[in-house]
């Protein structure tokens, strides 16, 4: 009987530890959210989004506040990016959204530079000022072109 009790205890421990690893993988690594914190959706239209992809982070001064939830073309066929942003962050009306690259070849993300207005953006609003992706291709192209002109 004693033996059974020990074995049952070990099996119970095994199940608990297994469930704990699965919970760690789901919650911490997988980033599943229960009763997800309130998010608002903001739109930003760019000329060129470069290699930006859905789920790219949105940051203010390097701190993550949300992510890109959708990329589509607006009515005038310009790239339109929808950002899902933490509702508790106040983003003033005249803030600008810029597409930046982490490192030279790293992933692209959206950096929000806060403005000075008191009014803040609400769910469904759009950014007035945006800055497109910095493209090495274009830069090299312009350099080559300029070099050609100066000759």
């Amino acid at each position: 009987m004693q033996n059974h009790a020990t074995r049952d205890l070990i099996v119970g421990l095994f199940v608990l530890v297994g469930l704990a690893t699965l919970a760690y993988l789901s919650l911490q690594v997988g980033g599943i959210e229960f009763g997800a914190e309130k998010r608002i959706e903001l739109a930003a239209t760019f000329d060129d989004i470069g290699g930006l992809s859905v789920r790219a982070p949105v940051r203010i001064g390097g701190v993550k506040i949300g992510q890109v939830s959708d990329i589509s073309l607006d009515a005038e066929s310009r790239p339109k990016v929808t950002l899902a942003v933490d509702a508790s962050v106040a983003i003033s009306n005249d803030s600008s959204a810029a597409i930046r690259t982490a490192g030279l070849l790293g992933d692209q993300f959206i950096s929000v530079e806060l403005g000075a207005e008191d009014d803040v953006l609400a769910d469904g609003d759009s950014f007035t000022y945006t800055e497109s992706a910095f493209s090495i291709d274009k830069l090299v192209g312009r350099l080559v072109h300029d070099a050609g002109v100066s000759d």
């Binding site: 074995r7 297994g18 690893t21 699965l22 760690y24 690594v29």
Partner: protein, 258 residues
């Protein structure tokens, strides 16, 4: 020529017949789940044999697989100056593929074969007939707890494997190669998503466990009742279950990504 065609026909018939027997066996197994009496004690014992006794193997294998991944990927990624990607690559490959598949294959060798051999030995010593004589369904008494235990143990062991492998890759990447620990972990957490990756991993390990449980108990029940038969059945379990796991892995991956 005619002989060859006849041979082919016979092969196909045997194959289909075998498939039908597995299906009937599976149906019988499934239908005996709700039947009283509950064999919970047997289930716990089977879980001990299949799950707890595999823990050491799974943890050690996971840790070494993680270390190898960390070493190999780090040196390759360094060439592109992309060491920061180590966490993402290690996490995705482990959670999506390596975790469930390697756990499936290891558990097949460690626990699946043992279950076939055990049931086969019971059959060859006429213990299963003995149970039937006492009006106890051996399917309910012997096969069901073991098949269920494999199904439950597989996702748990998969989780253990992945966590230990992540730790192994952390050890090599961070302590040996000098990558920043925070970069590794945040890369990992950014890249791995619950819906796409962890969900797929769980589904895979559940399906693998189910397949292995079915195959291992079926092979034991249908083996020839002598020493050579038990040996053949055990080998056959390992081969069949491994192939089935790899095939099912492809099918689930393909269906998931569409």
């Amino acid at each position: 020529m005619i002989g060859l065609i006849r041979e082919l026909g016979a092969q196909v018939t045997t194959g289909v017949e075998g498939l039908g027997r597995v299906a009937r066996f599976g149906g019988h197994l499934l239908s005996s789940i709700p039947r009283p009496p509950s064999r919970f004690g047997f289930f716990v014992r089977a879980l001990f044999d299949a799950g707890v006794l595999s823990v050491a193997l799974i943890c050690l294998s996971g840790f070494t697989v993680g270390m190898v991944l960390g070493l190999q990927l780090y040196t390759t990624l360094t060439r592109f100056g992309a060491e920061e990607g180590l966490g993402a690559v290690v996490g995705l490959s482990l959670v999506r593929e390596l975790g469930p598949v390697l756990t499936g294959l290891l558990v097949t060798g460690r626990a699946g074969s043992a279950i076939t051999a055990e049931i086969g030995a019971m059959k060859s010593t006429e213990q299963l007939d003995g149970l039937r004589m006492m009006a106890i369904d051996p399917m309910h008494f012997v096969a069901l707890p073991r098949a269920l235990a494999l199904t439950i143990a597989m996702p748990l062991l998969n989780g253990l494997f992945i966590v230990f492998a992540i730790a192994g890759a952390y050890g090599v990447g961070v302590w040996r190669q000098g990558l920043d620990g925070g970069v590794y972990i945040s890369g990992l957490e950014d890249a791995v998503l619950f819906g796409d990756d962890v969900g797929q991993s769980l589904l895979k390990s559940l399906v693998f466990g189910l397949l292995l449980g079915l195959i291992a108990t079926f092979k034991g029940h249908s083996c020839a009742p002598d020493a050579a038969g038990v040996a053949r059945a055990t080998t056959s379990t390992v081969v069949t279950a491994s192939v089935c796991i790899l095939l099912a892995d492809y099918v689930i991956t393909a269906l998931w990504s569409t």
